[in-house]
Amino acid sequence: MSYIIETRDLTRKFGNLTAVDNISFGVDKGEIFGLLGPNGAGKSTTISMLCTILRPTSGKATVNGFDVVKNPSQVRNSIGIVFQDPSIDDKLTGRENLEMHGDLYGVPKAQMKERIESVLKLVELEDRADSFMNTYSSGMRRRLEIARSLIHYPKVLFLDEPTIGLDPQSRDHIWSYIRELIKKEDITIILTTHYMEEADKLCGRIAIVDHGRIVAMDTPRNLKEQLGGESIILKTRNNPLYAEKIKESGLAKGVAVADDEVRITVDSAHTVLPKVVDVAGKAGIYIDSIFLKEPQLDDVFMHYTGKALREGGKEISPMARMRRRA
């Protein structure tokens, strides 16, 4: 297997609480892999084990081919991390924070200057590099943390709730940096999030985590398709006849006529759509409009866990909250 991250029955208990319960998954090189779940689902605990901050209670995990328990320092050399809570030094400038990181990770002095410039450029903070961190907005801090995590050329980047607490505009920025990053660097990204939109937009594959277990794992599209709840909504000149024809064709799981429109429930709207249009053509029924309704990842989450995934309300330490506001 050539997975860059692989876990086998990874488990972590805190006393009676099983935070991570026999999680197994593999992440391919160059992928953006998302761990999606509500607060307290075990996402951060999983990341902490992969980053060698926490020891697993049982099970196995390898990162870049190194065992997280047996070779923690090789694992640390291979990874970059952006923590959920801020972890920069306020009394230093942006550049000083980056230099410190480079020193801690033993980045060759000769490359350091250039590397710092290039990561600063990636997150568009070149002109703010020499300002003190306490003059940065929370979005800028996040960006600097992302830049910092890249200095030592990590093979795997962990982003733990990278956009939590940020305004929509900063969030968009961070997303575009992440996309840029996966194109430019030889890197694999694993991110945790409880924002559906984030997982949907960024991730190649998603593992939905609830109560410490993976309840579903696939591409965002497949996950939505598994729900089998996509609808095609059409307005035609002869709705009753059209509904009749669709029923005869056997293309749909369900057909309903309501409010002068025909609602067709299908497994995959993308593949059925041409056929549905074809049926109308053959029957000589004129179509006025077509509207596709895909299930959202929210629906997928609801389907697998039986509960809605609320935005916000993330518990962060009071100190961190104070810091973010500042």
């Binding site: 980053c51 060698t52 901050i53 926490l54 320092s73 640390r76 050399n77 991390i81 923590f83 809570d85 801020p86 972890s87 920069i88 030094d89 306020d90 009394k91 230093l92 000083e96 230099e99 410190m100 990181h101 020193d103 801690l104 990770y105 033993g106 910092r148 330490s317 100190m319 961190a320 810091r323």
Partner: protein, 252 residues
């Protein structure tokens, strides 16, 4: 090599932070001045002066000891601050050994308290303590030895605690007793026996005692011979370094 670079960068961070916190530097000068000038003058007036030296001369090494103690402990404990603000995570997850993190912190915090200690030392000039080159040459290494053990106490406390809520408790039960029971303010020799023992188990007592031997010369009689006093300080340093590095390798 990379471990040395890690130690260096952790040390550098502490020094940069100190140089940028002007207010802390200023207050680190003001507090000892209050002690030396006001407390020293006031109490000195009402104390029977012993042969050969003034109360302020006697108090001076005690206040140096106090400065080293308070700075080292406060800065050592500030590691908790790093933990709460998340910066500690960045350090702990780096490929640098815990021992190096401990050493880097120890040197950084130690440099801070030495800097402040030296400022106080220079203040001696203003209260009429005769300062010679020889005295500086002897006092500085001694101050370094005293600082190391104190910094380690702070770091050990920080590695055990996770929040600053207990900071007041530490001040009450560690800092203040260590200061008052060190002989910084009054001589140990004239105390009743039962109280003497409390002073004898306090490492700072030996630090202050040795500093007094250096700044007051033959006018001061140490509890133990000077070389034994220094041996006690070094032994305490070694013990604290061992406990500290052990405690640090176990922090999460």
């Amino acid at each position: 090599m990379s471990e040395l670079r890690g130690i260096y960068t952790l040390w550098k961070r502490e020094v940069l932070r100190l140089l940028r916190e002007k207010s802390r530097l200023v207050s680190s000068v003001v507090t000892p001045i209050l002690w030396l000038v006001i407390f020293g003058t006031g109490l000195g007036m009402s104390m029977a002066t012993r042969a050969g030296f003034s109360y302020q001369q006697f108090l001076f090494p005690g206040i140096i000891g106090q400065t080293l103690l308070f700075t080292a402990m406060f800065m050592g404990i500030s590691v908790i601050w790093d933990k709460q603000f998340g910066f500690m995570k960045e350090i702990l997850v780096a490929p640098v050994s815990r021992l190096s993190i401990f050493i880097g912190k120890m040197l950084g915090v130690g440099t801070n308290s030495m800097l402040q200690g030296i400022i106080v030392f220079a203040l001696g000039f203003f209260i009429g303590v005769p300062i010679s080159v020889m005295m500086i040459v002897e006092a500085i290494p001694l101050m370094i030895l005293v600082t190391i053990g104190l910094v380690c106490i702070g770091l050990i406390i920080a590695s055990v605690l996770n929040s600053l809520e207990n900071f007041g408790v530490i001040m009450t039960f560690v800092n203040m007793p260590m200061f008052f029971l060190s002989g910084a303010l009054f001589p140990v020799a004239t105390l009743p026996d039962w109280l003497k023992w409390v002073f004898y188990i306090n490492p700072l007592t030996y630090g202050v005692d040795a500093l007094r031997a250096v700044t007051m010369g033959s006018a001061w009689q140490t509890i133990l011979p000077l070389w034994q006093t220094i041996a006690v300080i070094i032994a305490f340093d070694v013990l604290m370094i061992l406990i500290g590095s052990y405690a640090f390798t176990r922090t999460k």
